[in-house]
């Protein structure tokens, strides 16, 4: 298959001499009477990892280690002492290698989505437990053909792998346990496929993700488009002509305050630019406790607001009509505001508007920082543009956090794709197994996934075909032939394949492009 010859990618060639050798020295004791140097051991481990790492599939295949000729030659399995130290050392070498290739921790985490520990005679996780530290974001984990007897034997990973979607424990004693499925569902909240069988539908996962608070359409009660016109004019004015905006809808009774929520979470890719321009005016009443400071940070009247606004960075908000998904705007009528004309003793009606969205900060030079904001207005009737005046304007700025919290659920699938920065980030959200994302579409859309009118047996068979494809590199048609011809027994199909391949009887067209 697509195994690499070395960690020679992303334009960098690994130089193993650079490594900190202490950890490996301690980890690997002299083997088999000879004394291999730490550098030598690392070089061999690096070569081994390169052999077992399938970069395109983001798969690290650590299956059947006892039969690997290179590991046998290293004498890894000759004593329990070297065997027990091998795996932690291997993980260490992996992390050292990776840190030279990928700069950011996020990129390192994305490099591997799938790990196979199939057929390693594992009775518990003692030997391999460091895997969870090396790959906390793993989506697919194959632990099949091992000797795990019960939940206890897997307990070390109970609170690991929060993003695990596919787990294979088939052909382990534990998977015959009546509590097996429920336990795994409880441990892994994003688990979709267990032992090749779908255990949560996409809908169930979406429901879990959204609970306990469902997201619906925004509330917007606005008579005569007053709020709508105000919002459109406001953000365009705030970006392009703050003075004009102040003249049109702010007056001497208007109040503006801002605060910075530095504790808000940020979307994964965003670095947070400094808040220097804002922080001295941030009026977070939890932090600003002195009366004078509280008062000086409340900007009352158009003139004081003008002074502040002209000191704040220039902004560009996304166009509301062109990018509605970036905005959440809600509007409520409110009673009882003071009538500025004094004609109504009981007060007049106003509007309370809440806005959530993002903006680009156009600073000095070419650097553009994207931030999220939450803004609440109270509008009353007045002499300004559109017959309104701004009574209250509270702005909260925070690190860019995306719009997922209010995106309609149907649009969610499209979201990650839109935010892709590199091809490596291709989402596998819709794939039952990671292999489906590789190269040109090897399987039709929805293949291996449940659908109306498709029986569970068929889904399972399709998933078996996908497994054959991933392990043999054969096309869908040939994979289906291989497994259906072997009574849907994966092991038999793979043995059969190995035999035929050795005999050279498989035609080139049996294989997917780029795999041979």
């Amino acid at each position: 298959m697509l195994q690499l010859n070395g960690f020679n990618f992303a334009g960098k060639i690994l130089e193993i001499e650079k490594y900190d050798e202490a950890g490996i020295d301690q980890a690997m004791l002299p083997v088999n009477g000879s004394t291999p140097t730490a550098a030598d051991t690392k070089a061999k481990m690096t070569a081994f990892l390169a052999k077992r790492f399938n970069r395109e599939n983001k798969l690290l295949d650590l299956s059947d280690l006892h039969n690997d000729p290179d590991l046998i030659a290293m004498g890894i399995f000759q004593s329990t002492s070297t065997e027990s130290k091998f795996f932690p050392a291997l993980m260490k070498v992996w992390e050292l290698n990776l840190s030279l290739v990928f700069d950011s921790p996020a990129a390192r985490r994305r490099a591997v989505e799938s790990v196979s520990l199939r057929a390693n005679k594992l009775e518990n996780l003692k030997m391999v437990t460091t895997l969870a530290q090396a790959f906390p974001d793993l989506k697919n984990l194959d632990l099949s053909h091992n000797d795990f007897k019960d939940a206890q034997s897997l307990l070390a990973w109970r609170h690991k792998f929060e993003n695990l979607e596919l787990l294979d424990l088939s052909n382990t004693p534990f998977s015959a346990d009546p509590t097996f499925k429920d336990t795994m569902l409880k441990w892994y909240l994003k688990l979709r496929v267990l032992n090749g069988i779908e255990v949560r539908t996409a809908e169930e996962l979406a429901a879990l993700k959204k609970s306990p608070i469902p997201v619906q359409a925004p509330y917007f009660r606005d008579e005569g488009c007053i709020a709508e016109n105000f919002i459109r004019a406001f953000f365009s004015g705030y970006d392009n002509d703050r003075n004009g905006l102040l003249d049109s809808v702010y007056d001497n009774e208007s109040t503006f305050t801002l605060n910075i929520n530095t504790a808000a979470p940020r979307a994964q890719q965003a670095d947070v630019a400094a808040w220097d321009a804002y922080i001295k005016n941030s009026r977070n009443l939890l932090r600003i406790t002195h009366l004078t400071a509280r008062m000086s940070r409340s900007h009352n009247g158009a003139d004081k607001i003008r002074k502040l606004w002209n000191s704040l960075p220039a902004t560009r908000h996304p166009d509301i009509a062109a990018h509605p998904q970036d905005w959440l705007i809600e509007c409520y009528p409110i009673p009882g505001l003071v009538d500025p004309t004094g004609q109504s003793p009981t007060g007049v009606g106003g509007l309370l508007i809440t806005v959530h969205g993002k903006y680009d900060e156009i600073g000095k030079g070419s650097k553009i920082d994207t931030r999220s904001f939450d803004r609440t207005f109270v509008l009353g009737p007045g002499g300004g543009a559109g017959g309104v005046r701004v009574i209250n304007d509270i702005l909260c700025c925070r690190a860019y956090g995306g719009n997922e919290a209010w995106a309609p659920e149907t649009e969610e699938a499209a979201q990650p794709a839109a935010q892709q920065a590199t091809p490596q980030q291709q989402s596998i959200d819709q794939a039952a197994v990671p292999q489906q994302v590789v190269g040109p579409p090897a399987t039709p859309e929805g293949y291996g996934m449940p659908a109306p009118g498709k029986s569970e047996t068929q889904v399972q068979q399709e998933q078996l075909v996908i497994q054959v494809m991933s392990q043999t590199g054969m096309t869908l048609q040939y994979s289906e032939l291989a497994i259906s011809g072997n009574g849907w027994d994966l092991d038999k199909a793979l043995q059969d394949f190995a035999k035929l391949k050795e005999q050279g009887t498989l035609p080139p067209e049996a294989f997917l492009a780029g795999t041979v």
Partner: protein, 124 residues
């Protein structure tokens, strides 16, 4: 001048303490024309609001306020309060981040909540 800030702060503290301890006790903060918007369910009236709050599908809840700001909203003393923060529900490990805006109206030496608008702003 400072009074409204203190009132806002006391209100927010009381509101979340009560919410986290016993949501049904929030009834006294609302009136029959009050309106709660929780995400996008909009509910009017004390009994409906309390019913909504108590039926939210979690048992344990803890609010942590990150920012709090307030402005006087009219000369007769109503106050606009805006809070951002995070809440943890039940056994969930990741906090959910929210903003909440309150419109507080003075009433016989006390205040009631005319509008209460809760929105999640970040999905953990």
């Amino acid at each position: 001048m400072s009074a409204f800030s203190d009132i806002a702060q006391q209100f927010v503290q009381f509101y979340y303490q009560t919410f986290d301890a016993d949501r049904s006790s929030l009834a006294g903060l609302y009136r029959d024309h009050s309106m709660l918007t929780f995400e996008t369910s909009s509910i009017q009236g004390v009994s409906s609001i309390v019913e909504k709050l108590t039926s939210l599908p979690f048992q344990k809840v803890v609010h942590k306020v990150n920012t709090l700001d307030a402005q006087p909203s009219s000369q007769d003393g109503s106050i606009l309060v805006m809070v951002t923060g995070a809440l943890l529900v039940d056994e969930e490990q990741n906090p959910m981040n929210y903003t909440q805006s309150f419109n507080l109206i003075p009433d016989n030496g006390s205040y009631y909540v005319q509008n209460d608008i809760f929105r999640l702003i970040y999905n953990a």
